[in-house]
Every structure is written in C-alpha cells, then in structure tokens.
Symmetry: C3
Subunit: 433 residues, 3 copies
C-alpha cells in the first residue's frame, strides 16, 4: 500500500484545492455563525462531513461557548452619503464580531474605531474582538488619510445573540481504533493561506484516504481556532486516548519553505516521521521546537492531554508580512504549492501507515540474496546498489526492536527505499511481522 508520490504530482489535485479556496474566499467566516455553516456545506460536496452545533453558554473547561455572531451588512458613509468603507467590497473591512450600531459621529470619534497598517498602507488589516464587545472598521492606511473632516454615518447590521458554535468532523475508520488527527481552523474570513489553504488540504487529504486501505483510523476536524479545539476536546475527552499521531494543518499554500513545529513530546513518532520526510524531500525546510504559542496545537499539547500533535505549515504565521491582511489573497497561494504540501502530508501518512517492526527469518549471518535473485534485480546501477544496501540494512536491523523508520534513520536512507527493500524481502519470505 505504498503511495507512489511521484505519480500523484500531476497538478490536478493542486488545481482542485485552489478552486475550492476560490469558492470559500468571499464568505465572511468567524468563530460562529452562518459563514462557517456555509463553508462546511461546501466541503460536504467533497467529503461526508458531520456538522456539529454546540449551544452558546456551554462550559468547555475554563471557557464558555460564546454568543453566535452574524453579519448582513456594514458601511461608513461620509457627510455626502458616499460609502467610504463598505463591507460588501471586503469582509476584512469589519472588525470581526462587531456589535450592531447605527449612528452619526464626527471623524475624530470615528477614528477611535478604525484600524490600519501604516507600515503597509495599501492593505486592510484583519482584526477581531471575540471576547470583548466592541465595533470597528479596518481599512488601508491610505484610505484613512483621505478621510475628510465632517460627520460620518456608521452602520453595522450584525447580530450577537444566543445560538451555536458550529464545527465539522469527519471520521474515517481504519483497521484499528488507533487514530491520526488532522485539525484545521475555519474561523478566518477572506484570508487564503490562513487558513483556506488548510481547509482545502484537509479536505483533499481526507478524500484521498478514502481510496486506500488504512491501518489507522483518521479524524479530520474543521473547527474555529482556540474555542473550537477546546470545545471538541471537552466533548471528546474520553476518546483522545486513541490519538496516536496528529498534525495541525495551516498555511500550506504559500511559496515559503515547509516548516514543522514539533509536538510537546518533542520526539514522538509523528515528529520522527515528519522530520524524516522533510530531510529526504530535497527542498529547504525548517524544524521548530515546541512552544505553547501558536494554533490549536496549544490545546492538543496542553499538559492534561499532551497529545503527540505537531504543526506542519509552509511559512509559519506571523513570519510573512501578508499575514492577517488583505494581501493574504488568491494571489498569495498557488495550486503548485498546495499540491506540494499535500504530497508531503501523504508521505508522512505513508510513513505512519508502514513503519512496522519486522523480524528477519535468518538472523544468524546474512541470508544468501544472490540465490533468491535479489542482487541486481532493479534497473540503473546506482538504484541497484541503493536497494541492495537497503535490503542489508533491513535484514540487519529487523530484530524485533526497530521500526522501518528507525532503520531508515539509522541507515541514512529514505523511508521509500526502505519500504521497497522490505517489500522485496517479504516477497521471498526473508522477513516476518
């Protein structure tokens, strides 16, 4: 069941992910509300996602499920009645979770509710105020500077009231109850890399995994950041012991180098698997140690759970200037990089699925490979040498204590090569589970 990754690299999946991102882009999402529901319904066209609704006010550990926020329209008009800020043009213009308001006020007072990015004067920043009632608008710094003195009309047609927190979940059973968790946040409005890219990758990863036999069960979570993972963990704390490996998926569409942040454990099997794949990828990459700041790995790696969950992104959040601005748009992500990320995730899954422990049936001295046709069995000269070397390593270390990943790491060769060697040795009966 080894995945031939090179064959996957057709560009087709990348285009489909990009297309999905384009469809999701205009929707105004938040940590609750209809934007999230609409987005999850779109994902259901690809995978049979279950949609959960958790009522406002439910206690989830130290937190409370917030009121549901919905937005219909919002603008600011100048004294001539012209819309100088218009939610319909970009949902980033509105401070996310703004309470309803409709009033007139002078520029000076309005300015206390305006947010800009002076260092990037053309871009609209993305701001939220989930846990403190407030209203406001975000706009480019240039637009701010063009505002004339005078009275402005502010209109926000939103609602903030008891309702639900909505999240999606897709559980794909495998041979065992041991599971691999993939989690992405879905609460950001028109931002592509953060995190429509993660939603798209998770969707197409899930779709792909339905097509293959699975040793592990797989669980995909599509949740609002922080409050979503806390809610899910609270509702599911009795099943988290099944989670053997996990990854937080985010920021997988930009052109930056792939970056892995280790789990709190630091050297869990997921950490070993990802770092192995990155090492043999032939591209630049970065490994970060765990820290308790970041995305939802903060919750999965809190001490009471301490799940082996890392985070696999391209450029990490906050390390690119387009982060949390209107410049994180459809031009900032590409089908090429989405597909490259998707392939890396598949390669990691391949390691998890196949890194078993075998036993050599001939532990005393080497078995005679020649008489079984295992020398020179493959094409090119170098490839022949590599596969022979890999067979010797697998035979030498298959003593009931080394996984195939351990063998690949000690030998300094790729897991793929070790898998090929293992397959050949299994075929001639030199290995057993």
């Amino acid at each position: 069941m080894f995945i031939d990754l090179s064959a996957s690299d057709t560009g087709q999946v990348g285009l489909e992910m990009y297309h999905l991102i384009s469809e999701l882009y205009p929707i105004c999402r938040s940590i609750t509300g209809n934007g999230v529901r609409k987005s999850l319904h779109i994902l259901q066209k690809f995978i049979p996602l279950e949609i959960h609704e958790v009522p406002t006010g439910m206690k989830v550990f130290d937190w409370t499920v917030p009121k549901e926020w919905n937005i219909r329209d919002a603008y600011v008009k100048n004294s001539r009645g012209e819309k100088v800020i218009d939610f319909q043009l970009s949902n980033l213009h509105l401070l996310n979770y703004s309470i309803p308001i409709h009033k007139k006020l002078p520029l000076a007072e309005l300015k206390e509710h305006l947010y800009t990015l002076p260092e990037a004067p053309d871009w609209i920043p993305y701001r939220t105020s989930y846990y403190k009632e407030n209203w406001g608008f975000c706009l480019s710094h240039n637009a701010l500077e063009n505002l004339e003195e005078g009275e402005y009309e502010v209109y926000i047609d939103s609602s903030l009231q008891d309702g639900h927190l909505t999240y999606g979940e897709y559980y794909l059973p495998g041979e065992t109850e041991d599971e691999v968790l993939f989690s992405c946040h879905i609460c950001h409005p028109s931002l592509c890399n953060d995190n429509l890219s993660g939603m798209a990758l998770a969707t197409f990863l899930a779709k792909r995994l339905t097509l293959q036999p699975r040793r592990y069960s797989y669980r995909f979570l599509f949740i609002p950041g922080t409050i979503g993972s806390i809610t899910w963990l609270c509702l599911n704390k009795n099943i988290t012991h099944n989670i053997r490996h996990g990854l937080v998926i985010s920021g997988v569409g930009d052109k930056g180098e792939i970056t892995y942040k280790r789990s709190r454990h630091g050297n869990a099997e997921i950490d070993q698997a990802v770092t192995h794949i990155l090492k043999h990828l032939g591209e630049k990459y970065r490994i970060e140690e765990f820290s308790p700041y970041g995305y939802d790995e903060r919750q999965y790696c809190s001490p009471g759970f301490n799940l082996p969950v890392g985070r696999l992104t391209r450029t990490p959040f906050g390390k690119y200037e387009e982060y949390h601005t209107s410049a994180d748009n459809l031009e900032f992500v590409s089908s090429k990089h989405l597909e490259n990320s998707w392939i890396v995730y598949l390669a990691v899954i391949d390691v998890l699925e196949n890194s078993r422990i075998y036993n050599s049936k001939n532990p005393m001295c080497e078995p005679q490979l020649g008489k079984r046709g295992l020398y020179g069995m493959l094409g090119g000269e170098q490839d022949k040498k590599d596969i022979e070397m890999a067979m010797l390593w697998v035979l030498n270390l298959s003593d009931g204590t080394h996984t195939l990943l351990d063998i690949a790491n000690r030998a300094g060769i790729s897991f793929e090569m070790v898998t090929r060697a293992t397959t050949a040795l299994l075929q001639v009966g030199l290995l057993q589970k």
Copy 2:
C-alpha cells in the same frame, strides 16, 4: 521572596566588602595560628561566626592536623646590619610555615633559601612549606640581584608546636534541614583576590541571607585550604547528607569574566542553576567541566562524599599572572567586581530557593487568561509579550514534573521572567504547589 537584583546594585555592598578586605590584608594568615584567629574575629563584627579549635595531631581521614604555626618577626640583614628583607614590610617575604632560625651564613648558602619570580622581577612570590619543615624568604628578583657577596644574618622568630587548627562556621537555619554550603579558604596572607575576596563575599552573603525568609538552611565555612575542608568533613560526616547544593567561593574580586566549574556530578541542580544565571547575565562567562584539581571542591567532590558542590570564581586560579604574588594586592580587586560577583551569588540562591514544582489547576486546554486580566497586564509592549509567553510556558509545563528552572531552560527565557509569570499565575489561582 524574589530578590530584586537590580535594586541591590547600589555599589554600597561592594564598598563594604572592599573595606573588609583592606582591614584583613595586612594580617599574616596561614593554615593555623593567630593570624587566622584575628581574621575570624574581624568577621564576627558582621556575622555571629562560631570559631572551632581542632587540636594538633588529630587524625582526619588520611591526614593529621598539623602543628600550629605563629610568627612574630623575620628579617635578613646584610653585613652592614641593614635589613635587606623585612617581614614587617610584607608578610609574603617569609616562606609560610618557616621554622625558627637565627644564624649567619654567606650569600651562596642563603640563596638556597630564597625564592623569586624571574619572569616578574618586581613581584614577591608567595610560597609555603606546610608539610615539610623548612625555612626561607621570598623577594623580588630585582632585589635578589642587588644582594652583595658577604655574610648575612637570618632571623625568623616563629614557633611551630602543638596547638590548634582554627576555622569559622556560620549556620543559618531555614524552613528545612536541607542545606546550601558555601566554603571559602582563609589561609592565605596578604593576597586579595585569593582569597580575601572570597572571605568578604561569603561574609556579606551570609549577612544578606539573614534578612530574608529561607527555604534552605545555609552553612558558611571559613577554613584553611585542603586540611580545613578535610577536617570539617571528618568532624561532620554524619550531617553531609543534608547538603543539597554547594559552592566554593574564591577569586571573586578581579575584573576577569565569571567562571563556573561544575560539580563532579556535572549536571546537579547547582550546576543547572549557575549555568542558567550566567547564560542570562548578559556578560561573557566561562563554564569548566569538573576536574579533581583545584580548591576545596576536591574534597567535597571526593568519591566517598560526591557532594553537589561547584566552584564559582571570576578568573580561575593560575590563569592570571598576579596569582600567588605580591601583585594580588588591593589594586587588583575592586568594589565594582566584588559587588557584581555578590549579585551573581544572590541570583543563584534565588534560583535554588524558588525553583519549585507547581501544578496547573487547568491542565486540560489553556485557561482563559483574558478574563483574569492577565493579558496586557504589564508596561512596555515587549515586556508584555515576554511575560505572556512565560505564563503560557509555566502553564504548559507545570505538570508536576518540571521545576521552574526546567521551564526557564526549556523555554529559553530567564528564571526571573518565569518567576514573575509564576507569581502572577499564583495570584489568580491558576497554579498550585
């Protein structure tokens, strides 16, 4: 009970230490005798030191307490009756532990008892002969070369007879019997860095510790080198199991960089505490691995005791040319560097006192810091971020297995910042012991 180190840095303590050194400087100390007694009496003006007298001839492990040596006067006169070497001008002129003598002898014979430093011709070397009866004089090489042919009168009015070995001890009880040992040697005559600086620092450290609550008990030893620590260990071998941490104090007044020599254990808590403080000091420093050569850590770290005792100095002995010469004088040490060393010792004590293990009361997912006013609670932007990050680290790692020092080291932040975060979290009830 966190020590605000910056507030201590007033220069006042440094001046007091320097003043104490000046008072002790003229006294001729040795491993026994009245010079030691007089010095300890001076220290009693600052701390209620207990003075112990151990009789000559007592067996202490493989050693024997030596005869007591006292010196009144010594000189060498030339044939014209002029004093060409005079103990009254510098007690370094006399070979320490010289037996009494009064006789005339020609220059050639005298020279067999003269010691100089040709490579530093202005300086008087410091020499001893504790365990082999001998007499001699030390002088500058220039002075030696000026000696004319002729007969000389040698006069040493010393006594070497049964008496006592004298040492000082100050035990400062704390909440527990677990103790921290500070040991300095007191046997050197007019040498400032080695080790009047150590005596002064130990005295003012003890004085300071009387003013604060103490989790640990503290023991300060003022002992002659080697024979003193061996004697103390022999007399107190039944209480050494209380010693949790220890430092040998010496050479703390010169301008060189702070140098820590690890205990035999290599990574004991004292080693971790000192290296942490030095790493975050913002000054150059050096770490040395343990070796069985040096000051009294040789005895504390002998295999039968193997106490977690390191050595914290500025430039290590033998690594500065003034070492064991008349140039290790009142100009070689400064109040500024004495105080800087004292602060480093206090910072280490602060780590030892406060590096406890806590438990997060909300181990499952993060507690909500915002609703407790813990976000943005402090002044500057950077400081705010640093303290928030420190709070996240303390919450994430306070799982009953990590000390605060472990947390600081894993997070790569200062113990001080971790302590501030811990204090804030304790105040709002998010942590428990």
Copy 3:
C-alpha cells in the same frame, strides 16, 4: 603488563610482516583449494595454527559449503600460438573460480569473457564468480586493445568438484574464557593490502601475545571471506557467547590513515578502546559508523549474533584506486605502515587487558600523596604534573563504577598515563580491585 609501545617500534616486526607477505604473494588463493592450504602451512611456521577442513555441501545457515576449486594453469593463445594472457605471469589474469575449458573461439566471442579496467588501462582487475559457474580472464585494458582479430585458443586447467573449505584457527588461552576475536580473510590471490597485510598482522599479533600474560583468551581466524565466517559461526555458535571484543583485520599495509568502523552496537567497549587509542595517537584517523556492508563484520554483527566486532583498517576497501587490481602489489604496502598498524592493534589490546575497575581505599577526601612520595616522583616538569593529575583522576573516579578507560576518557588523558598513575597508586596501596 603494560606494553611499552615505543620500545616495540623498531621496524623489525614490520620487516618480518613484509617478508611474510612477499612469500604469500605469488600463491593463487581462493575461497577453497590448495592455495589456501599452502598459505596456512606457511603461517604455521610462525604460530601453531589448527587447520580445519569442512566438506563441500555442508549446510551452514542459509548457505552451502561450495565445491572446491583448484587451478593448475590457464592461458589464451592467439592464432600464431603466442600466449597473450598467461596465468603463470599473474594469477589475477584468471577469473577466480573459472570452470575448466579448452576451446578455440573468435575474438568477439572471447571478449565476452574478458574483464578490464578502462579507467586504469595498465592494471589487471581482480574478479571472481564463486556462486555462478563461469570462466573468464582479466587483463589490462591496453592489452585488450592490442588483441588482433582472429581465432584464439582458451585453456583453463582447473577443477571444481566436491572437496573441502579450508580455514585456520589459533586459540590462545588466557586467565578467563572471555575471549577477543581477530578475524582476517585469506581468499584473495596476489593482492597485498587486501588481504595479505591482514594475514601477516594477525600472525604477528598472535605471535606477540604468546609472550605475555593474558587476562583474555584470544582467537585468531584465517578464513575465506563471507562463506568462511558463516561456516565458522555455524560450527561454533555455542561458544560465541564468550566473545567479549573483536576486530576484523584487513588493509593494514597501505600509507593511508587508520580507519575504524564501529560495531553494530556502536559504543561497545571495543569501540571505546579503539576510538580512545586513535584519538591519542597523534596521527589523522577516521571513524565510520557501522553499516551492514563490508568484510566479515557483516556476519559477526548479524542480528542473531550481534557480536561487539569492529573493523580496523588503514584506507577502507573501495576507497583507494588500487583496490582489487594488480596495483595492490608489493609496492603498495610497506613495513613501516604494517608495523604502525600492528602497534595500534597492540595498544588496543593493552586497553582491553588493563581497563579494570578499581576502588579507592580512601574515598572520603583525598589521600595525602605527599607523605607517600607520590608528588614529584617522576622526571620532567610537565610529565610530573601530568602523572599527578592522572593520579587525582584515578582516585576521584575509582568508585567501583568507572573503568580505567572511562577515567581516561572523562579526564581527556591517555590510557597510558592513567595506567602509569594506577600502577603507582597500587604500589602504595591506595587502590584495590
């Protein structure tokens, strides 16, 4: 029983080894046959080697002892009856294990059985076909290019029939049954470094060890590569538990730097001993991690045995262009480098023999070295300091858990210095076993 290695470095042993190589060089060896027997008889002039004969067809683990091959003569004649390839001039000319043949054939057909080295056109390559019946000749590429069109007469007077596999074994008993294994392969024809050098070194090492008391027993194996070690392991699998340390000896006569390949264990005592000696050798050297490719360490380190056997060579096989060619001749090895290798082997044995665990009789504080005359007991100033430091280390770490090699490594001083210190301390009764 410390070996004074400097005294051994007389050049005499190197000359004797070189002489032995010269005597063995013309013989055509293979993995079986009379060439091996003749070679072992020559070694019996130096050590009382036992010669074992194992019959063709015996199953040895996954392998079968092959038919015995013997060769009397072989040549290729051109149409004018001139010998253009002549086994009598170099036994490398014949594909080793060639079946008998006598026929005429045109050049084009002959060429399918000819092997050359185009990249080194003057040299004859060394080729074998042990496990697939075949015939062939090896020759320089220049000679190949001079062959004219026409008919050639091929004549190989060999036999390949049931017989025996022959190997030599020398067991030198010591104080205990714990043994050190030295293994060299003896199957190569006229090749000096690979592996007449190994045969000569093993022989003279064995000869030397008969002259000294031995804590360990020593076993020397002179075996054909791969099939020889597999056969020996199969016949002796019940005694391999006695093997505490082992080395595969090969390629020890060239001028390249000494190279050690670690055992599968990676940090067994043999690995520590060899790396220690190389570190303190004062010459460049290389350390390689274990891999399951190479000489007979492949079999000794197969998972069912996992013996602590490393490989100690000069330039490793395959890393010099003369490897497996006629250029690996008597000029490629030298008595100087043979003797240098021999001394390194002796130094390693010295560590193995002497790296015991001692206990200080005075574990509490240092014993007084001065009263036992242990200060300044030796010649030069630096040497005196070094030996005193070594004594302090041995006393400090002789706590029943550190071997002398552990002490040397932690102290960063040579095992030789530690041994000298230990001897001095034993003499005055400060240490016990």
